[in-house]
Symmetry: C2
Subunit: 169 residues, 2 copies
């Protein structure tokens, strides 16, 4: 089967969200085994003006569902962003993965040329589907997942790149 | 023109390496303007057993040239890994970007199904081209570029996600 924009979006997004779930499990286990407050991990950040771990996971999943939905031409699922625990974050990952897996491959046909507009309070970005994927959605997802990893590493959690890459054998 | 595995590899790799160059320029400028030793930035790391900034850039470019070369079926350029300054890192980015831009789009035809084997001292990974791209090369590139950003943020460099995303206007 030919490679399409579906192959460059849904499978890697699912793969990386699954890996993020694994990384979070290791973080949660580390907190528990060291008698640390999980909240100290969930609220940790790398710099005062960077997002804390919970928000990093929220944005990674927002970018993922937005990407799948926009390219497929379906409505973006709304979440209430009320997560306060590792379990809540895992549930958010699970529902995002389920949403992405449920998208119809055929709906992505020609999505590389689709006009996509993102509106923010202070800016409006216009993309075609290809540039939206390559220059916005995917970099954002990796940015936030890698930052979760970096936050946990900085907290002393014993993670290695194989955890991030899904090579966990 | 249809979306192919070329579109999911060469353009985003070039885009992100260009963004990394921009991020490094801001880091270098920050060191100079604050009378700091550039070496302290280049040798900085987020955890004792993580790579320092120079090595992060080296691996990001290694993963990028390896990805382009393997998918296109050409020899991987060899670098001597002797960078010791921001200028050296910019030169490494420039030659990697030039290599990627020089690859022939047609050479990527069917690369999603190509068998790709990576040999490491303690492991051997077998991929098809699609999984090599999605589950190894691209995640690695983003991992190392994001980590450079995180290291510089942690050093107090005034960066924002727009710098990472190439939205610098």
């Amino acid at each position: 089967m030919a490679f399409t924009i579906y192959d460059a979006s849904v499978p890697p997004l699912v793969y990386m969200l699954e890996n993020l779930g694994h990384v979070l499990t290791i973080g949660e286990t580390h907190a528990r085994e060291n008698g640390a407050d999980a909240k100290a991990y969930l609220d940790a950040r790398l710099a005062p003006d960077m997002f804390a771990l919970i928000k990093q996971v929220q944005v990674a999943t927002d970018m993922s569902k937005g990407c799948g939905a926009r390219l497929a031409g379906v409505e973006i699922p709304k979440y209430d962003d009320s997560e306060t625990s590792f379990a809540d974050l895992q549930a958010r990952l699970a529902k995002t993965i389920a949403f992405l897996k449920g998208l119809d491959r055929a709906a992505f046909t020609g999505a590389e040329d689709k006009a996509i507009t993102l509106k923010f309070p202070n800016a409006e970005f216009h993309f075609n589907g290809k540039d939206y994927l390559n220059n916005f959605a995917i970099p954002n997802v990796y940015f936030h997942i890698t930052t979760v990893y970096a936050i946990l590493r900085h907290k002393g959690v014993p993670l290695g790149k194989p955890d991030f890459l899904g090579r966990r054998a």
